[in-house]
Point group: C3
Chain length 264, copies 3
């Protein structure tokens, strides 16, 4: 998939501005991941500035990881403005399925906005499709390859969007095109916010290319960087440090050697 490197180079040339309305846990990590990969992050959620900021942003990432009643109107307003401005939007429904509040908020955002990419784990996406109880806090309780593939397709059709389901193997589908991605590292589960970083990086790609390429590229670039980082540092603290380094270093050669992406 030559286009993964090509898209990454575009990020580094164009430095897309990615606006994030995200959770408190990962704001620092997400901003650093975006900078390392070559994008410009901004974290802005105040209703009073959404219009001004979205006017200059290249994409919007909405993440409900520390959802608060007071932030929901901001998220709603932001996805509506993004739709008006035709700016692409990533939704990361962190913890959907763990509480009805998160499931319902995510479903509402899918309904009132124009979500370009929906990215979650199996528990979260299955909750949005009506099957609760597979989410333990913000983690997926189980993983099943066939189910992940099926639900990626189901969600793409139901929500008319591009869907990425991440896990030991990742599936991406827009209903017509489906990809299976086999990179990553088990240590990612021992570091908080790695899924949120992936969503933000997909947002960076949305600033330079289409939804399906963005989702495949974002997940793959992140997971390839994670594999390289794990080779250098197999413990979670050191790994996270090396992960930023690798997101900064990753290039065409590494992607071609390591990326495991196939269309199915």
């Amino acid at each position: 998939m030559k286009w993964i490197s090509k898209n990454l180079n575009k990020i580094r040339t164009m430095n897309p501005l990615v606006q994030n309305i995200t959770n408190f846990v990962v704001m620092h990590a997400t901003a650093n991941a975006l900078l390392a990969v070559g994008a410009s992050p901004v974290m802005a959620h105040a209703k009073s500035e959404l219009e001004d900021m979205l006017k200059i942003a290249d994409s919007l990432v909405v993440n409900i990881g520390t959802l608060d009643e007071a932030w929901i109107p901001s998220m709603e307003k932001a996805v509506k403005i993004a739709a008006d401005f035709k700016k692409p939007v990533v939704l990361d429904p962190v913890g959907a399925g763990a509480t009805r509040f998160r499931t319902e908020t995510a479903l509402n955002l899918l309904k009132i906005g124009k979500i370009t990419v929906l990215k979650g784990n199996l528990g979260e996406i299955s909750a949005l499709l009506g099957r609760q109880g597979l989410t333990k806090g913000v983690e997926s309780k189980e993983y099943n390859e066939k189910l992940a593939l099926k639900l990626a397709l189901d969600a793409a059709l139901k929500f008319e969007t591009t869907v990425g389901i991440t896990g030991p193997i990742d599936y991406v589908s827009d209903g017509n095109n489906t990809f299976v991605l086999k990179n990553g590292s088990p240590i990612l589960r021992k570091v908080t916010g790695t899924g949120c970083m992936v969503s933000a990086i997909i947002g960076a790609f949305l600033g330079v290319t289409n939804p399906i390429e963005s989702t495949v590229s974002g997940i793959t670039v992140f997971n390839v960087a994670a594999e390289k980082a794990y080779q250098e540092a197999p413990y979670p603290g050191s790994f996270l440090v090396k992960l930023y380094d690798q997101l900064y270093k990753i290039d065409e050669k590494t992607i071609e050697e390591v990326a495991n992406v196939s269309k199915i």
Copy 2:
């Protein structure tokens, strides 16, 4: 104390879900500390989801480090629901004594909820016992071994809870059993949120054992990991990275070699 390792192994087998209502400074650090040690963190404070989340959580950690008027109703509701659901609760009264607002909020949470473990530094615990002015921001202005021991016991009796007072030497008491813990590293004072990580890790232990063992085990596992990390990296940035690594690596052998815990 064989039970420290035994409890740690239980965390790694059972992966207790620890719900945190904590401060903005340490959310990322706390989540990573919990993951490294083997637990599952979730940060959730919205009133609308407290009941759903506490239903699946194994314990709750409430930390007032960046206390906000808007968050107090969430904290109050959470400790009440936790009492109803018989879920154990850690309270970390960060900055009590520095402002009346923090002292009073912490005292109110102690009154309306069923706090299983109260963990703070000497300035904070003495403020809750009525002696203000020993807290400089979020740090304790002074440390006095005899006073720490006395106040751990006093607070345990007054609040009918298990109390941990951390400092150069740590004291843990539930009124009947009192422990003195002599691990740790002075560099911990040069890294933000280390006390908050300890409280969160005590929360992880509460998902697998009783209050007194949880408090002793949480402080000791953290401090032993800190000693090992300091041996590898005696500067604050590198130290914090190694601290996560050590929380992940720490095992029975290291605990037995390094832990300095005695019952008094």
Copy 3:
């Protein structure tokens, strides 16, 4: 400039308490930078505790990086109390120029409080002087040495304060004294919150010396530490870790060898 080291030594002896009302992205990083350099950080924004906390704080840092309507009354109240208590205040107008909301909020704080030091990038300071559109999110779109020098002076005169404009070359002016500072590293642009750390460190210096020395010392100590860190680790993840280490290690000898400060 012998006084840079002298001021740094004062921070390490006196451990000034720096109260921060800052953004969610950098709270952890800022607290750690302050601890590393020798100060005591506290993050406190609740209206109910501003008076108690400012009573014991040595300085206040206000940063609008994730500005929220609900936080503005806190910021306003804090700068008013600081003026009453004669505590020095740093204002970092993060993202001014990107949205009118940020520009207006920063201007209002300059009007109602007594801002001791105004520290921003060229896009932000030019926005406060009436020229919008040079800010891309939280970054400055362009940099021009002559303009930076001119605007530092203009802003110092207009707002009757000490101004620091950071960029590849930094300018500091209080209207009477103007300094040009030539330290730093391009990698700082690849790590989030480095500008915010500088503002916080200026706040630490304000606890021990006057505004012009504080601003020059804060920027220089940070940038010298950054140069040393970059020599050890030229990638963003590792660099940030080494930056904290260097802020902790930096001493008179290093400052004298590396600092490039001249009065113009």
